[in-house]
């Protein structure tokens, strides 16, 4: 049987080990209930790693499996991002209309930016390069969307938990690496192997980051204050908000 080249094999083995541990972590901490799409993504990534380790590297079925699993992973990426920001923006009564409007504008801008990049890409010559153009467009739009939503979170002090920040950083790194390399491949029509190594490396780094960063304690919803995440800080800020309101009411009566 033909094996994949050494670098890819080593990376795949490393990724598989991290993936298995991450799946166990998500199961044990019961995070899969809150983040079903993320859990689905991990399962598909597990299946992809298994296929890559079993199917001969230079066979036609390897490429077909790559196409199928990669399409599924891209779909799950889109679902994960929607799941993530749905959770963040779900109970914002004070800025509900504006957050909805911002969401719509962000989606519009993200799609526009990703479509504009089609102008610099070469015309696909087969179904694989065609798929990579579509994949790049989706991943770029997700990247722009994550960027705009992070800016929104920086502007408004919306209560978010530590896990959501860890997820966001992971997605940003992964989408950035994947979109950059996909665009480079689609523009030059070369470097497919380098692209493969880069994407596996980026996803492995992200999974390692999620493995280290995600925990059940990270689910405690709190304001993010000065690099610390805990309930005490949130209570302190809410106490101060009450005092500020009292102060404003006093000033209003004067």
């Amino acid at each position: 049987m033909h094996r994949s080249p050494t670098v890819e094999t080593v990376l795949l083995l490393l990724q598989s080990a991290i993936l298995v541990r991450l799946v166990i972590r998500v199961l044990v901490t019961k995070l899969f209930r809150k983040y079903p799409c993320f859990f689905g993504y991990l399962l598909v990534a597990c299946a992809q790693a298994l296929v890559f380790l079993l199917v001969p590297y230079d066979s036609a079925s390897y490429r077909d499996w790559w196409l199928i699993t990669q399409a599924l992973l891209t779909c799950f990426c889109a679902l994960i991002v929607l799941e993530l920001y749905g959770l963040i923006l779900s109970d914002l009564t004070g800025i509900a209309s504006f957050s909805r409007l911002y969401l719509k504008i962000s989606i519009g801008v993200a799609i526009l930016v990703s479509l504009l990049l089609l102008l610099v890409e070469k015309t696909p010559h087969d179904r694989y390069s065609g798929f990579m153009v579509v994949d790049r467009a989706i991943v770029t739009s997700l990247l722009v969307f994550v960027l705009l939503l992070t800016a929104f979170l920086v502007y408004y002090p919306i209560p978010i938990n530590r896990n959501l920040v860890v997820y966001s950083i992971g997605y940003a790194v992964y989408f950035l690496a994947k979109a950059g390399f996909l665009l480079a491949v689609n523009v030059s029509n070369t470097g497919y192997r380098l692209f493969g190594i880069a994407v596996i490396t980026a996803s492995t780094v992200c999974m390692l980051f999620w493995l280290v960063g995600l925990s059940s304690r990270g689910e405690e919803k709190t304001l993010v204050i000065g690099h610390r995440w805990n309930r005490e800080d949130q209570d302190k800020v809410l106490e101060r908000l009450k005092a500020i309101n009292a102060s404003l009411l006093r000033a209003g009566r004067q």
């Binding site: 914002l92 009564t93 004070g94 800025i95 509900a96 209309s97 504006f98 610099v120 990247l143 960027l147 992070t150 800016a151 979170l153 920086v154 502007y155 408004y156 002090p157 919306i158 209560p159 920040v165 966001s168 950083i169 940003a172 790194v173 950035l176 950059g180 665009l183 480079a184 523009v187 030059s188 304001l223 993010v224 204050i225 000065g226 690099h227 800080d233 302190k236 800020v237 809410l238 101060r240 908000l241 009450k242 005092a243 500020i244 309101n245 009292a246 102060s247 404003l248 009411l249 006093r250 000033a251 209003g252």
Partner: protein, 174 residues
């Protein structure tokens, strides 16, 4: 060439993401979110700023024996420095007030689109006024007139007024 352009875009986006995540992890300074600060804060502290380039001061100076135009030029230069210092303090206070207002908005029990819109509008108005004042400060030695600082204080007063109206709603939520 295109490869280099892609690499530059990726590097730029990486820098933007790093900056955003650092800001996200430290976007509120709990020590500064105090009612004491709000109690002590007043735009009247900035009243002397309005009089820095009052024509009467310069007329009085010109009427004094031994007056030379260089003395007035020196005074203007010193007052430009004072105004630049006031501007720094004002920007810090505006940002503090704006952060408190955004916090109230996010924690509100009911939707207040008017308040949100006013906050965004006042932020743009304030920074536009800051830019205009800074430009005037740079151009003053070339003969431009003194900046109108009252426009700097209007957005602050407006935000404070909105916050007072908002307080009962926000107090219920908190």
């Amino acid at each position: 060439m295109i490869g280099l352009a892609i690499a530059l875009v990726v590097a730029f986006l990486t820098a933007v993401f790093i900056a955003l995540f650092i800001r996200l992890a430290s976007r509120l300074d709990a020590e500064q979110c105090t009612s004491e600060w709000l109690d002590n804060f007043s735009t009247s502290d900035y009243a002397p700023m309005r009089r820095l380039f009052d024509a009467k001061d310069f007329e009085f100076l010109a009427s004094q024996p031994g007056y030379r135009p260089e003395i007035a030029r020196q005074l203007r230069a010193e007052r430009r420095e004072v105004l630049a210092g006031y501007l720094q303090l004002l920007i810090r206070d505006f940002n503090q007030l704006h952060t408190l207002a955004r916090m109230m908005l996010v924690q509100a029990a009911e939707e207040r689109p008017d308040f949100g819109k006013a906050l965004r509008r006042q932020q743009i108005t304030f920074y536009y006024a800051v830019m205009a004042v800074r430009l005037r400060l740079v151009l003053m030695p070339l003969g431009w007139t003194a900046p109108d600082v009252s426009r700097l204080l209007e957005p602050i007063e407006s935000i404070r007024l909105h916050m007072q109206r908002m307080a009962p709603h926000s107090a219920d939520a908190a």
